[in-house]
């Protein structure tokens, strides 16, 4: 892993992410007994959005979203370049903060609620993600993604609890049920459209593309748990994604209290037990 993989992420991740999104919609449609859109539909959507007017409530509101876009790419690039995992997580938080601030800046009640919920979502996934970094450090002795990826055994064998906590918060990052509180993917809505209520046109296209980047980045983090063997890693990443779709289609959205409490408790119990196990192992 080096800056080349980081650069590769910058250029190819949107295509991979867009395909994953298309695939997602197809599978979801089939699970619901529909035919579903073509695989390339997400690209058509974004293409159309790019031609639309950029409507804003407050001037400079879209700048926050654009910064979110840039920082998301930066986060992923840092990760795929094999950088420091903690730094990657901080950068991810910074991107999230800018996205939320864009929602606040719009000064519309619905995007305000969405922004609050976006922050709540960040607060919900942050412990599990940081714990994943801590666990990986305890096993491999390094926070560097390149070193972690080169560990000879599948990390999930030593980090089952932490992996579970990580999987538990994945719907947040994928904006999927039961944790799609701040804004939702699907035809059903969440308090109008949550944080993206006042985002439109080109800016909304950027949010979509940033989301594709996030798809690849988050799946990349999942891959780390199985990174000892590339085929195992790829297969398991696919399985993770499939499971996520099943969860998405079989659960209803929960209240924010339930999201926060459950994700914190799962991270505390599963992650804590896992850390205890690692400590006793030595």
């Amino acid at each position: 892993m080096s800056w080349i993989t980081g650069l590769a992420f910058v250029f190819f991740a949107p295509f991979v992410g867009g395909l994953i999104a298309g695939f997602d919609r197809k599978i979801t449609a089939r699970l619901q007994g529909r035919i579903g859109p073509p695989i390339l539909q997400p690209f058509y959507d974004v293409g159309k959005l790019l031609q639309k007017d950029n409507l804003v409530v407050r001037r400079s509101q879209h700048l926050y979203t654009e910064f979110f876009f840039v920082l998301t790419i930066f986060t992923g690039a840092l990760f795929f370049a094999g950088g420091d995992l903690l730094l990657v997580i901080f950068s991810l938080a910074m991107a999230g903060v800018f996205f939320a601030l864009g929602g606040y800046k719009a000064s519309s009640p619905y995007s305000f609620i969405g922004a609050q919920r976006e922050v709540l979502q960040m607060v919900s996934y942050e412990p599990a993600v940081l714990l994943a970094a801590v666990g990986m450090y305890m096993v491999t002795g390094s926070f560097k993604v390149s070193v972690i990826a080169a560990y000879p055994k599948p990390l999930v064998m030593l980090l089952p609890g932490i992996f579970f906590a990580f999987f538990f918060i994945l719907p947040v990052k994928f904006r999927k049920s039961p944790f799609d509180l701040s804004t939702s993917h699907h035809a059903h809505q969440e308090i109008v459209k949550g944080i993206t209520t006042e985002i439109s046109g080109k800016t909304l296209a950027l949010v979509e593309i940033a989301h594709w980047y996030e798809y690849v980045f988050v799946l990349g983090m999942g891959y780390l748990f199985f990174a000892s063997n590339i085929w195992l890693g790829l297969v398991m990443t696919f399985v993770i994604f499939e499971l996520l779709l099943v969860v998405d289609n079989s659960t209803a959205r929960v209240r924010w209290q339930a999201m926060m409490a459950s994700s914190w408790i799962v991270a505390l119990v599963a992650g804590g037990l896992n850390i205890l196990y690692l400590m006793l192992r030595h």
């Binding site: 007017d53 950029n54 409507l55 804003v56 409530v57 407050r58 001037r59 400079s60 879209h62 700048l63 654009e66 910064f67 840039v70 920082l71 930066f74 840092l78 950088g83 420091d84 903690l86 730094l87 901080f90 950068s91 938080a93 910074m94 903060v97 939320a100 601030l101 929602g103 606040y104 800046k105 719009a106 000064s107 519309s108 009640p109 619905y110 305000f112 922004a115 609050q116 922050v119 709540l120 960040m122 607060v123 942050e126 412990p127 940081l130 714990l131 801590v134 450090y137 305890m138 926070f143 109008v192 209520t197 006042e198 914190w264 505390l268 992650g271 804590g272 850390i275 205890l276 400590m279």
Partner: protein, 627 residues
Amino acid sequence: MALPLLAFLILFPLFIAFLVLFVRKEAFFAVIIYPAAVILIVATCFLLGLSAGGSPTLIAVHAGWVEPLMLVVEVLAAIYLLFLAIKQRDWTVSALVIIQTVVLLGFHFSRAGEVHTRAELFIDVFSVMMGLVVGIVGTLIAVFAVGYMRDMHHHQHEIPDGRRVFFSIIFLFLSAMFGVCFSNNLSWMFFFWEITTVCSFLMIRYKGDATSVKNAFWALRWNLLGGLAFLIGIIYLCLTHHTIELDKMLALPKAWVMLPVALFCFAGLTKSAQLPFSSWLVGAMVAPTPVSALLHSSTMVKAGVYIVLRLATSLEGTFVGLIVAFVGLITFLICSFICISQNDAKKVLAYSTIANLGLIILCAGIGSPQAVWAGMLLIVFHAVSKGLLFLCVGSIEHKLHSRQIEDMSGLIIRLPKLSVMLQIGIAGMFLAPFGMLISKWAVLRAIVDFNPFFALFLIYGSTATLFFWVKWLGKVITVEKDYKNEETGISLDQWIPMGILTALTVLICGLFSPFANILIEPYIVALYGREVTLGAGNMLIMSIMLTFIALFPLTFLPTRGVKMAKPYLGGANVGDGRQFRDSLGGVKPMHMKNFYMEEYFSETRLMRLGVIVTTVFLAAMLAAGGM
């Protein structure tokens, strides 16, 4: 060369403190304080030129009159406090004052001539770093106070104008802080330590109303208790090891000095308002804002963490160290949680100050090179950003006549410059790649090696931090109504300190590497014989992130192809799009309120929990130190 400079730093503020007592006209405060501030800042910068290394340069003061003078001052201060306490019928404080004075006098007269001290003062990079914080951040806050107090007395006539005494105490305090930083003789340090306690007491009661006086006595009580622990520690050290010098104590084997170290830590915990003592600092927020910034955030409470961090090598790997670390960690976690439910901006700052001090105490308790490195970073970054935030909130309060965060909506339009400074201050507290985040990162690395379970607590605390800062930041940029720019009448002596602190917040982050190399690295190397870094590659990435952030304001310059629209309100928009027609045909304005989650993060419940847990652990610490 070192002695004259240190003497100047301690005596010059004392001279100014004396001088301002004779000011008859308002304008003369500025005439005295501005030049004094410039001189003090320049003198502090000379500290850097002393080429102080990591190991202490000891400085002997050949003046026999100093110690008797200190004793006289201590006794006079005690009589004054006793008088006030009896008048207030605060028997706990009265008892503490009497006990402390009796013990102090007994100690002085029984051991007179017994202990020979070779060096009263010392200097090394750590004390230089503290000196810079006191000299630069502290002095800037003093300048800010000139303008702030002028505004305050023009607006609030019910508060008696005691500004001569006020500024006198501010400078007396600065002098005492320099004393704490550079004392090697522990009884000297104790003297300066007690002076800061008295200053804090007098400043909290400045407004003179019942609440202020009550809270002042409450603060005094805990600080006196800490002072007593400090004193007993010195006496014990003197009786068992025949020394009262800091450097000699640190050179002794850990096991020999466990009790005095535990007692000094206890004193440090009270001074830095850790749980279970935190309530005094929250109460101290009744004082005028510059006081909160100077004493209760940037400098005085740092004296507490300074002494504990000094003892880090004696704490490393001991039971006392473990407890100290745990108390700091619990304080960080609980106070960060409490911040979520607070709407009063000053209270958020107070709790977050306690939380961050907890983080430094945690580092000291761990005592590993990485931890001490992170702790020292935290002291500096926190002093600058938090000082800035307090000053901003002070000025904002004067303009809005409220310091509720909920009232700060639209601040970006009403007070644009102030709000930008506030935003930079907040970003400095939690956002990558600013100082506090670098430090938290370093703490996390240190803590995982120490005890991964501690990391678990840290992770939750740090997540809470993210939450309350973002929602404050969001409130500032949300525009609820058609606001006007109200940013007039803020004097230059408020703008300049805030401007410099804003610049410093960004600068120290950008110049983080050289800064750490000059002021932190030598201390760690001298102490542990090895270096600590975050890695050159990571530093590069941090600078890239800082550049990103720095570029963000530039994107505001040109307004590009966007179309303005009205917000969606779930009904027909009326007027400027901030009102809508509801289903019954009435016109309703929109409101936006933040989450506070009182039912989950209630101040009273969390505090009670924290006090109980930490009291038990502190008792265990003192017991373990005694064994």
